[in-house]
């Protein structure tokens, strides 16, 4: 196999394998970019964004240090939920634990002073599925499958770099496209740099 063929095949096969991720990132970006449109659209249904699952007395000691994940995991377990979650403290009076998969999400709010735990299920929305997939990543969940998704996110990023490198290589071999290609590349770079300076 020649180097030229290797470049071409890498470009195409990598793209075919990662096509679902690439399309998902593309389409879901539209939801982020036009979030107010989608929010207004769903508002018309007059359905509540959150539905109370339970609201009950509860107590947990919250650690003074920054690592809130053990406390979050305990709250989640005692609420009967398993899986990926995020935890944050918006203020001294509250601790929020956000449980999610691609389809559903539940927010658990622990009210420190009141010793109360409120669980609310998020309404199903297609745009939330897309944004949930888009935003999912990282290696903090500690499960094999979540880490595997994180690795795939890295692979998509590396693939984008490979597509740039192989794409430029293939373009340069097409002599008749060099002039317009150079203009497109230089124009894009100049516009991007101008944005950096002016935004």
């Amino acid at each position: 196999m020649t180097f030229n063929l290797l470049v071409r095949r890498t470009h195409i096969y990598l793209a075919l394998f990662l096509l679902p991720w690439f399309l998902m990132y593309g389409v879901s970006s539209l939801v982020f970019s036009h979030s107010s449109y989608f929010n207004e659209r769903y508002k018309k249904d007059n359905l509540p964004q959150w539905t109370v699952r339970f609201d009950r007395p509860y107590h947990i000691d919250i650690p003074a240090d920054d690592d809130l994940r053990p406390a979050g995991a305990k709250i989640l377990e005692e609420a009967g939920l398993k899986g990926a979650f995020g935890v944050y403290r918006p203020n001294a009076e509250k601790l929020n634990v956000y449980w999610f998969n691609f389809w559903d999400a539940t927010q658990l709010t622990y009210f420190v002073k009141e010793n109360r735990l409120l669980a609310e299920d998020r309404r199903f929305r297609w745009d939330h599925i897309l944004t949930g997939m888009h935003a999912r990543g990282g290696f903090v969940q500690g499960s094999f499958l979540d880490d595997a998704w994180g690795v795939l996110v890295d692979i998509v990023c590396l693939a984008m770099l490979v597509w740039i490198a192989t794409g430029i290589y293939m373009w340069w071999q097409l002599r008749q496209t060099r002039l317009w290609g150079s203009l497109a590349l230089a124009g894009g770079c100049a516009l991007f740099v101008a944005f950096l300076g002016m935004l």
């Binding site: 389409v27 539209l30 036009h34 597509w163 290609g181 516009l191």
Partner: protein, 198 residues
């Protein structure tokens, strides 16, 4: 002819949007490894350092909203552009966050003594990339910001187009149909499995 148009559009669009694709690839990696980069930078978010302090001589209208006051102060400082604001111009302080992509600034105005403190955020590459990644939407009152948001939309359209035109070009290459189909089905199956298992 149609095939040639598809091929050329795929390529020229990619060349033009290369900086955006590069930025999104690098910024996604930075966000995917946020914990690692946080440790690299000492576990703290990017800090602000004082750039200068001065007396503000401009007159703010008595009934100015926080946004109106922020716009006026930023214009007087030649820093006009996208911002967010906290506090009130008739309160204890008004804090303006000027969302410059490279050097974000925090401008604190204390009406009592008319002082302005201008601070700049210390540059950190992952934070810069994340700011660029998250910059989108048409919610700000700046034409330049809307223009940037339009380029983000163009990238979105281009991504879908690259996917579909790529499929078209692949199918035209008979020699790659077999392995291509294997790659496509494997990727789609893996993605489908992930939809239900995590």
């Amino acid at each position: 002819m149609f095939s040639k148009i598809i091929r050329r559009s795929h390529m020229y669009l990619a060349l033009f949007l290369m900086p955006w694709v590069l930025m999104y690839a690098l910024s996604t990696m930075a966000m995917n490894h946020r914990e690692f980069f946080r440790k690299v930078y000492g576990g703290k978010p990017a800090q602000f350092e004082k750039e200068r302090e001065q007396t503000y001589t401009g007159l703010l209208a008595a009934n100015a909203t926080p946004s109106q006051a922020a716009v006026q102060i930023l214009r007087d400082l030649n820093q006009d552009g996208t911002f967010s604001v906290q506090g009130r111009p008739d309160g204890e302080r008004l804090t303006i966050f000027r969302q410059d992509p490279v050097i974000p600034r925090r401008i604190t105005y204390t009406p009592k003594d008319g002082r302005l403190v201008i601070e700049r955020q210390i540059f950190q590459a992952p934070a810069f990339l994340e700011r660029m990644h998250r910059r989108r939407g048409f919610q700000h009152d700046y034409l330049l910001e809307d223009t940037w948001a339009s380029t983000v939309d163009l990238v979105i359209i281009a991504m879908v187009f690259w996917g579909l035109s790529g499929l078209w070009m692949w199918w035209e290459l008979r020699a790659t149909r077999g392995w291509g189909l294997v790659c496509l089905l494997t990727g789609a199956t893996l993605f489908g499995v992930f939809l239900f298992v995590i």
